[in-house]
Symmetry: C2
Subunit: 229 residues, 2 copies
DNA sequence: AAAATAGTGTCTTTCAGACAGTATACA
DNA sequence: TGTATACTGTCTGAAAGACACTATTTT
């Protein structure tokens, strides 16, 4: 029970190695709902399916750098901060060969999301309250285990939404916009006075004295996020 | 900006691949403190350093299976449930070559932990409140980035201690024992009446009517954990 | 003035911390 | 009876839900 088939002094280069990829869950607010960026596959496996943008990790490349590179190459997104979600390593998750994929998530501000061109092979799909993905009211079947990746990413985001919501609004935002982000991510309505109290009591919001562009009715004050103190 | 150096139709087998390992943070309660199982390295790199038990992932082997296998081979632990913590992929984390390591944590009941034989090349170290690791009051320098792995594992465990504490006590336990686990993991004392109320109000504890073995003073009642309802 | 949204005051409930008290075991 | 621990009663304060209210803007 004590001897390993992989002793410390063994040369790791002698082993067969799995391939390692990163898959990116790039999310943002679109039309009041949480959206995720998908690319359409053209090759086997899963031709024609929607998938998360992903790519292989190069040998001298840190994992986060690979995820950032993928977002730049596949969606034209520059300087995106990514956070690791989970490593997915089921043996049969790719039918071709053993591929371990490390999922990263990116939170895009409204302007960044709107700047991503959408065309036949790239779309913005909605993440529903149950973690499923849909477009035009139609639920999508994603390639590989990407549905599970999105679902787990949503679960994680719900735990950290108090801090992460600021990455999903513009630099200046109204409390109603912030509440909409929370509601879209959590998948349920929130109590307005309680939400405002809770946010303002945290001491990380600063009123600007400026109000949003005039709409049909009373405009709301704009706030900025000042982290820490 | 649109063309990737790793197009979908490229043969992934043609790429250089990193090695992939798992490292295991096997934790349990020892002497009222949170402890972690370490093995001493005998080979380069980091000869003589304490390290987390780890090993390479085989091609047809799921990641969780690799972590379980490592714990069986390196510590004689059978049927251990493991949970993924994080994938560590800094380029220089192993000076020999590019190795991406996926960290798993295991929670050991007191009996399982006590059954692991400790000798010159295996020890139980204490995880301190700040996430550092020490033995005999002496802070240890761990091999590779294993100190960061332990620290992140502790951070994660603190978020889920309400559910995970039951894996760190025996099948029957007193509320004081349960509180000691919470306090050891959180690194701070807890209010006794509040803790008891909170645990009992969850409806997942069942009093057995049996009391612990008589000690110097009044013995406490034993409880069992009944998940869900 | 009507309509619609921004923003607030306040009641109630829930729950955790604090602290003192009672209960039960052994020496 | 003393001592140390198990366990509980109750006060207080913090924070969230609910709901109605006031405030401000355009039409």
């Amino acid at each position: 029970m004590e001897e390993s088939p992989v002793p410390d002094d063994y040369d790791p280069a002698a082993y067969d190695r799995p391939s390692v990829t990163v898959d990116c869950v790039a999310m943002g607010m679109s039309d009041g709902k949480l959206a995720v960026l998908l690319t359409r596959r053209t090759q086997l496996p899963f031709p024609g399916y929607w998938a998360l943008p992903g790519g292989f990790v190069a040998i001298p490349e840190p994992l986060e750098a690979a995820a950032s590179r993928v977002l730049k190459q596949k969606a034209g997104l520059n300087d995106v901060t990514v956070d690791q979600v989970h490593a997915f390593g089921a043996v049969e998750r790719d039918p071709r060969m053993r591929i371990i994929s490390i999922a990263y998530r990116a939170l895009l501000a409204p302007a960044a999301l709107a700047a991503v061109p959408v065309h036949a092979d790239r779309c913005l799909a909605t993440i529903d309250a149950d973690g499923s993905v849909s477009a035009n009211g139609q639920r999508l079947s994603l390639a590989f285990d990407h549905a599970a990746i999105v679902a787990m990413t949503l679960t994680r985001l719900r735990r950290t939404i108090d801090d992460d919501a600021f990455a999903l609004v513009a630099a200046q935002f109204t409390l109603r916009e912030l509440q909409t982000v929370h509601e879209a991510v959590l998948g349920r309505p929130l109590n307005k006075p309680a939400f405002r109290r809770r946010m303002l009591d945290r001491g990380i919001l600063q009123a600007t004295g400026v109000f949003e562009a005039v709409r049909a009715f009373r405009p709301a004050e704009l706030y900025v996020h000042v982290p820490k103190g």
